[in-house]
Symmetry: D2
Subunit: 336 residues, 4 copies
């Protein structure tokens, strides 16, 4: 941590500050520029919030030097994390995860039919919402536990591990028993009690980036889960909120190489929510893979025009199949 | 709802769409421009999501005409909502609520001392965090239930109703019993299960705007609470996330008149979180009141440089007192 | 400037860097943390761009310590700049400038009638666009030099100094002769050749903040003008672009106290462009003055529904008069 | 255009509005919903600004149906625009343009050496700044006309057409004579007098997206140039300003398919400015091509650590060569 002092700071004030910092067992190193005087602090500054220091009237500014996350950082874990599933699927470390399925589970016939089709095209995981976070209380809210049971049936029929979103701590036990990858939705990326509890369940967690969360906040949220010590984390970029309205969100593809640089965790991309338009999903899925993503998450619906949720951004199994064909070829180029 | 058709739409396709809409008991009105053909729908379109319609390849775009919220809308409730408390405090309808106190409750001595001071200066409610949402798992997380008990003691000593944040459904019962105004923090504005449950508790809820939430999404979140039928809602603007880094958030003061126009609910402003710097709190509190806010929410700490949380944005009781003096005069101008 | 080194940096690499910096006559001070090693540089670092340093593979990050602007900084010019006009008007230093008039000059009758009315209500400057920057080439583009002549007639009739926007270097001479305050519009805030040339004209310049410009970039733009050595600068906050669509822009009222803290230049606020809705202008003008602005800039039109430009955000002379009445009272509170 | 009336609108008010619209030769079609009454307007509404209508107190809102641009729209020009250069280079229509070179021209030796190297690796155009827009007046501002002359020498030696930025109308004649593709920088995207003048020069124009410009505003800016009737336009996505600070801008890769859908103009992507970090350029260039871009624009410098400008985001010729190798293979996949 670097403390930048105001030109008006007196020797007395500086001495008080130095004594305070020495009291915290920090090592003080002074830097004096022509117009600016600074104090560098070495040692464990994790318990020292910048605010405490900035509060002194004679302090101009404080600059944090170290990253605000630890367990998710590549600095302390240089190798890629690779998550292995009983069925042999791997996420991370050069493997491509393909998570596909409808926005929400609507019926047994629907979920099984889609699951079979996406598997044939090359999907390695089945997604489907049972509990749906909707901006409006008047929209369809998902089938709940019934939806979860239908997902289990679809898993049995296809062998695809299931990925589905948890919205409340009260469902943690059920999800720990029944779900292969527990999804934390963008709106819950900073629901800290939920993150903590999920981190203790021992199931891989797919953590979606909040639509106004920075990359560093996302990695701090991952730290909340990892601190539980039991659950692996998959990071998911799904678009951030900007001024542009041509797309539902602005899919931040550059988050992929940035996250891969800062963290050892696998990174997948959701171009369906990231764009909000089915005809942008194919090019953006290609872009994600070309940028080095460890996986993609795609909404597929057999009758998008009748979907109870997000039909606008769902591709048909036919288009999904064409997309997968090209992505396989792209992977050939990437892995050379 | 207005459906804009692509120029390439065939009569057959349009007929199918019209039949589908008639089947939903909607009344169809066609509009034909020189280059564009549109279909207007009258009737209850609340169960018809724009996505379902946009999904048709021959549809270019859909425009929603009605507001996405109902219970919070001034359209159906023209009079200001005024919330009255047993101690006589009123929120809304031309009254000014002043909610003041520390970011987090730290000790009995601290909370009682601050509560007494802010009351003397004119505060009408005491704020203080017991459960604290922190971006980092390594930051101070609040005293929890112990903090809640200290708030109750401070209430007893001063008569000020208490406002504090709930972070998890598991604390609903405690909050319903002990807290006068239950706060939903910005990060939980779209934690829908929590909103629903809080809406049934029968306590006024202070709903903070999510840092990337639109005004309409905030009113939809209010609808979630109001749908419970038991709890009144106070809206709180606390800054949105933008590219500007000079302030912690960009306090959207214009949200005050916009919310007052669209909704009958009281609107308060939190310039402490909205700016993140104690020396901006005074001018921005003035701005909020001058723009017509029904209240302000201010972080006050007797030793900001030792605060365990957000000391940077807390004002001292002395500065708070000066601010209140000027705000009282401003209120004189506003109420003439 | 602080250089943060990667843990992998070798002694040899660090020595090379140190030699390079010594060659630039910079004084080197090393700081060694537990996990991080840093180099602090003292001396004139203005010719050293952070990019040059970051480019070294063994450098993790560079932090600039000093502000990126000089002439606009309060650090080197602690007193408020006050601009005096021949007619006695003052801008800055506790005076309130009221700049009012139509979005664009439409006819002699229109501009004179509005000028007289706003003067009666208390305006101290007349605004009106002769050259209009419009997003669409198909929109009304202003009367050009004819509009400028009409403004001069209105000035003669009322004594109000005129404020109008320059869009091209080719008009610099005319503006230097005829205009009292030369406005640089938001879209030209970083039109550097124009800024430079205007800075040599010897007329006060009203510099509008670009809709996606940070406060620091705005002050750097002011430095471009001030470097000309002849022209004073008035800063104007007029809203920034965010995700919120309820308002045309998000008026960043907190920019007022931030700019006043960082700079000695006067700060005015334009709530008309800042909100885009006439019924938000009154509350936001109040908010601006309450936050400490040195002036407001208001679009007033006698027939807003027939305005050729921005009628939506123009207030009538009647409403302007009511607003001015209340603002005068607010000023009473502010100046006590 | 659809006009949505307030519930309180009287018959008399509506009749006045209808008469006004009939007077503008617009055809009126009424739509009556259960709670909302609307008026649809057919005919040429291009001269009718929404503001004029919204200004009526009884009008709630106006919705524009048609796109705000014409000449750039694919609606009126379904085929891709393909721009051919004398040397045989093509931009648009399935060809991949590779524009490479240093941020700014620094010396004859530098520009010739880089030009030769990028040509060998597959670049089809040479970029290099002679006039540089810099946020700070204290940064290196480019070699000006001398830089232009060096670019001409490099063109002679390599045969690569040159792309360089114009900053002021006063250089139009020189650029028309000497430059193959005239670049309009992001900061000048809405410098309308410059756009108009450049549109008459008869040289292809590379138009960069403003960092806070919507896709529609970019296409409106293209309309300004195309209205000149002489110059072709190449659109360039180069990142938008968001809250994320991990990258210099957020490169909006989804703008590629959106622009290709809405417009017939070629679309290139600049991952150097879009990310601001040299090690993100490779993955993001891949992403751009995979998303369907017609070209990429890459900053290449032989000694990035000594570059006078943007060294941080420049790749070395060696890395550029590796990148080009992989991009050629990716093109194979894309063109199958």
């Amino acid at each position: 941590m670097i403390i930048i002092l105001k030109p008006s700071a007196t020797e007395e004030q500086i001495d008080t500050l130095k004594a305070e910092m020495t009291g915290r067992r920090l090592i003080i190193q002074e830097i004096t520029g022509e117009t600016t005087r600074m104090i560098g602090l070495a040692g464990d500054t994790s318990m020292l919030s910048p605010e405490m220091v900035t509060r002194h009237e004679f302090v101009e500014r404080v600059m944090k030097v170290s990253e605000p996350y630890k367990l998710a950082s590549r600095r302390f874990h240089p190798q890629d994390t690779v998550i292995e599933f009983p069925g042999g699927q791997k996420v991370g470390g050069g493997n491509l995860a393909v998570i596909a399925g409808p926005c929400s589970v609507e019926s047994e016939e629907q979920i099984i039919s889609i699951a079979k089709e996406v598997k044939l095209s090359g999907a390695t995981f089945l997604r489907g919402g049972a509990f749906k976070p909707r901006s409006s209380p008047y929209s369809f809210q998902g089938l709940g536990l019934d939806g979860l049971n239908l997902l289990k049936i679809a898993r049995e029929k296809t062998g695809l591990p299931i990925v589905t979103e948890i919205m409340s701590q009260e469902h943690c036990e059920v999800f720990a028993n029944d779900v292969d990858v527990i999804q934390i939705g963008a709106r819950n990326m900073q629901n800290f009690p939920l993150l903590r509890e999920v981190g203790g369940l021992g199931r891989p967690v797919l953590l979606k980036r909040g639509s106004s969360s920075t990359i560093d906040e996302m990695l701090q949220a991952a730290d909340y889960i990892l601190a539980g010590g039991k659950s692996a984390v998959i990071l998911c970029e799904r678009g951030i909120r900007t001024f542009e309205t041509a797309t539902r969100n602005t899919l931040d593809i550059s988050a992929v190489p940035v996250l891969k640089k800062r963290s050892h965790l696998p990174v997948v991309v959701d171009p369906s929510h990231g764009t909000g338009h089915w005809d942008l999903v194919f090019p953006m899925a290609m872009a994600a893979v070309a940028a080095g993503a460890d996986g993609i998450m795609i909404e597929v619906h057999n009758h998008p025009e009748k979907a109870l949720c997000d039909g606008q951004q769902s591709v048909t199994p036919f288009l999904f199949d064409r997309m997968m064909n090209r992505i396989k070829k792209l992977r050939g180029v990437m892995c050379e």
